[in-house]
């Protein structure tokens, strides 16, 4: 009894000791502990073999684990704040794990001991931490990992429960850290492993709340009100609109079996994950370790949760995967693609076999919908232009630049009596069209903010600029015409 106790203390000391010490101690006392039982089933006595984890970035998945015994796994993960593409023409300042949204996928084995290092890049503005849902302990690691910019935190945990888990930043305000992109997947592979498949993919859904509407070009800021109302502008797979379509689509071949590790970073929405034109042969519901359903069309993936789905690809073509809350797919970006190569399999799916005339009303001429050709842009008379400009200004500009154009000192520059505005007509047009960020000087004061681009028509841009340039103490005698705006829009932006 005494022997066992002292030996298990030994083992415990080894488990928590540092890498170098562990190696030294294992050499010194490997023999004495070799015959002992241990509370942690099948964890060998003495020091565990040490390995540094190799991660994978979506849609790639780290390779299956070939080890049959536990190891001590050292994980290094960096937090980094980066400006990146969210959609074509749209940028966002993402807060990331590993410089990527979603963060990298980590794959460890049930029973592994993990030494986790969270490194917050010196350029970060914010402190960050990590809550791994695979961790049993306060905050899932968050309590031990709040890390200032330019610092590194370390904690250790044992992977007690197998399954597919979300990890995310949990620094207050937690919703904002998640909404800005801080999440990823950690797979704790069961001891017995998974059944082999031909391909594995990592797909993660999440949503973004931006100051501008979907597609509004330029750098977009986080919008707290939209987040509180759970009303996102973007719902995406793998971090941006189009991250898993076209050239970036997931590639597979006819006849292959595919396993998808699906995560939902949220922060708010539950996903109704569906692959158009396929049926999940197996679903590990909510990312657990049991196949709890077969032949499933759509499976729920909770916010802050996961699912594992498997399917066999019977026919070639593009399989679109969506959040079947379908407006998210059609209007907000929640759409990806599995590109299946191979020969047609007519017995399973025929393709189009016929296209013939269908005339339920007989042979008479059908009523056709009206042709809605685009509204033709035309120059407006000065009075009409200025009246329209005033309305556009009040609707789009006054919130920041104020009704009288005086702005807010230190935050939003004035457009009243503005030397910056009046100095350059084309620059003014470009600013309203594309937004502006970086340092500018207006009437001798420096501003260093971000103006989002406004999705205004050429006519509205001409109107609002003509209005502002001939009001608020700006004494322009000329107006800006629709033709001026069209010319600027078709001219490459000077850098």
């Amino acid at each position: 009894m005494t022997t066992i106790l002292s030996a298990s203390r030994h083992t415990r000391a080894l488990v928590i000791s540092s890498l170098a010490t562990a190696i030294v101690l294992s050499a010194a006392c490997g023999d004495s502990s070799s015959a002992d039982g241990d509370a942690l089933a099948d964890r060998p006595s003495g020091a565990l073999p040490v390995e540094t984890l190799t991660v994978a970035y979506a849609p790639a998945v780290p390779p299956a684990i070939t080890r049959t015994t536990p190891a001590k796994v050292v994980i290094n993960l960096e937090t980094l704040e980066v400006k990146r593409r969210l959609a074509d023409g749209v940028e966002y300042t993402f807060w990331t794990f590993g410089g990527s949204v979603p963060g990298p996928m980590m794959r460890i084995r049930e029973g592994d001991e993990v030494e986790f290092h969270l490194n917050n890049h010196p350029s970060s503005v914010m402190p960050h931490n990590i809550d791994l849902h695979a961790v049993t302990g306060p905050g899932g690691g968050a309590e031990s990992s709040l890390t200032a910019p330019g610092h590194s935190s370390q904690f250790s945990f044992s992977a007690l429960n197998p399954g597919l888990y979300i990890y995310h930043c949990a620094t207050a305000p937690v919703g904002m850290h998640i909404a800005n992109g801080m999440y990823g997947l950690i797979l704790v592979e069961p001891k017995e492993g998974f059944t082999p498949v031909d391909r594995e993919f990592y797909v993660l859904q999440s949503e973004f709340y931006t100051s501008g509407r979907y597609g509004e070009a330029g750098l977009q800021a986080f919008d707290m009100d939209k987040a509180l109302h759970e009303d996102p502008d973007y719902v995406v797979f793998n971090g941006s609109v189009g991250a898993a379509v076209g050239e970036n689509s997931l590639k597979a071949n006819v006849g292959e079996t595919v396993r998808m590790f699906v995560g939902n970073g949220g922060p708010n929405l539950i996903s109704s994950f569906h692959v158009i034109g396929e049926i999940f042969n197996k679903v590990y519901g909510e990312g657990g370790t049991t196949v709890n359903q077969q032949n499933v069309q759509t499976t729920l993936v909770p916010a802050g949760g996961t699912a594992i789905v498997e399917m066999k690809l019977d026919v070639p073509g593009n399989l679109i995967f969506v959040d079947h809350s379908i407006f998210r797919a059609f209007n907000k970006g929640a759409l990806g693609m599995i590109s299946v190569a191979g020969d047609e399999v007519p017995g399973v799916y025929s393709g189009r076999q016929k296209d013939v005339v269908y005339l339920p009303e007989g042979g008479a001429i059908q009523a056709m919908p009206l042709d809605t050709t685009a509204v033709i842009e035309r120059e407006l008379p000065r009075a009409e232009l200025l009246a329209r400009g005033e309305a556009v200004y009040k609707a789009n500009c006054a919130a920041c630049h104020q009704l009288g154009g005086e702005g807010i000192p230190g935050a939003f520059p004035p457009v009243a009596s503005s030397d910056y505005l009046m100095a350059d007509r084309d620059r003014a047009i470009r600013t309203v069209m594309h937004g502006l960020s970086g340092e500018i000087t207006v009437n001798g004061a420096t501003y260093n903010g971000v103006m989002p681009s406004l999705q205004l028509s050429n006519t509205d841009i001409a109107a609002v600029l003509s209005y502002v340039r001939s009001n608020f103490g700006n004494n322009a005698s000329d107006i800006i015409g629709v033709g001026d705006v069209r010319r600027v829009r078709t001219t490459p932006t000077p850098r």
Binding site: P127, N129, L146, A172, A221, M224, I408, E439, A445, N448
Partner: protein, 282 residues
């Protein structure tokens, strides 16, 4: 009233550091004697921006523990109009060689201390003379304040001063939180000059949007909070929803950011987005 500003770890180091004041109270006491001996105002250029009076008020902490109803009273005090600049800090290290980058003890300033400067006494391209000094430890900021005959503001003082923008924002004052969030979203690689930001009702500039700022009792919240299970104690973990559990205003994201940042700090830490300004009793 002022809480001790140092964590346990930091406090254990103190016997080694005769130059560093023990606690904010000691800083304040030492300040008065030092200031008289040095005849304030005799120095040119000034060690820091002009001191402006911040009117007394009540500060509602983000985390309510044993705070009186209506908030914690803060008496009238003085705060420097802008943050301490690179040029001003250069003068300090010139006169106090022990605070030069190559000489400073790593117990009071980590390896990032003044790392954006070109040299011990040379600012270089990444540090405009008129920009706020950053990469400054709490110890260095405190030593500067003492040398300048001042002290660091307390968290209550700083938060009170940073909450008053009625004059600048008018009817938009209730949206201060959202405006600050927008300002906090990015940090330029080279910081701009001080004095261009929003002006508070007391005339204090740049409180939001340019840099984070040290306060004297930066870790008072974390150091005093025992646990989440202890009946509403302290910072409630500052992670996950725990951060909201005891908050006076769960939608004040800008304040959460400041509290989280303070919670991640220790005295020797030097961050590229963290500077300071000085305060004084009236």
């Amino acid at each position: 009233m002022r809480r001790c500003a140092l964590s346990l770890t930091d406090r254990m180091l103190l016997p080694l550091l005769p130059l560093i004041s023990l606690c904010a109270m000691v800083v304040a006491a030492g300040t008065q004697a030092g200031a008289q001996a040095r005849t304030p105002g005799a120095r040119v250029p000034a060690a820091h921006a002009p001191m402006l009076t911040v009117a007394a008020g009540r500060y509602q902490p983000l985390y309510m523990t044993d705070t009186p109803v209506g908030g914690e009273p803060v008496t009238t005090f003085q705060l420097s109009r802008t943050a301490v600049t690179n040029a001003q800090f250069l003068r300090f290290v010139t006169e106090n060689p022990q605070w030069r980058r190559s000489a400073v003890n790593d117990i009071v300033a980590d390896v990032s201390y003044l790392r954006h400067w070109a040299g011990d006494l040379e600012l270089g391209a990444n540090a405009r003379a008129d920009a706020p000094v950053v990469n400054i430890s709490w110890f260095a900021a405190s030593a500067f304040a003492e040398w300048a005959g001042a002290r660091l503001p307390t968290m209550a003082e700083w938060e009170l001063a940073a909450s008053r923008f009625q004059r600048a924002l008018g009817p938009r004052a209730p949206q201060l939180n959202a405006i600050v969030l927008a300002l906090n979203s990015a940090a330029p690689p080279v910081l701009p000059a001080v004095g261009n930001g929003m002006v508070s009702d007391d005339g204090i500039v740049d409180l939001h949007g340019v840099i984070w700022e040290w306060v004297d009792d930066f870790n008072a919240v974390v150091a005093s909070g025992e646990s989440r299970g202890g009946g509403g104690g302290g910072e409630a973990g500052l992670f996950c929803a725990g951060g909201a559990a005891f908050s006076a205003d769960p939608s004040n994201y800008a304040a959460f950011m400041r509290y989280a940042l303070r919670g991640s700090l220790h005295g020797p830490y030097a961050l590229s987005t963290l500077g300071f300004r000085v305060a004084r009793d009236l």
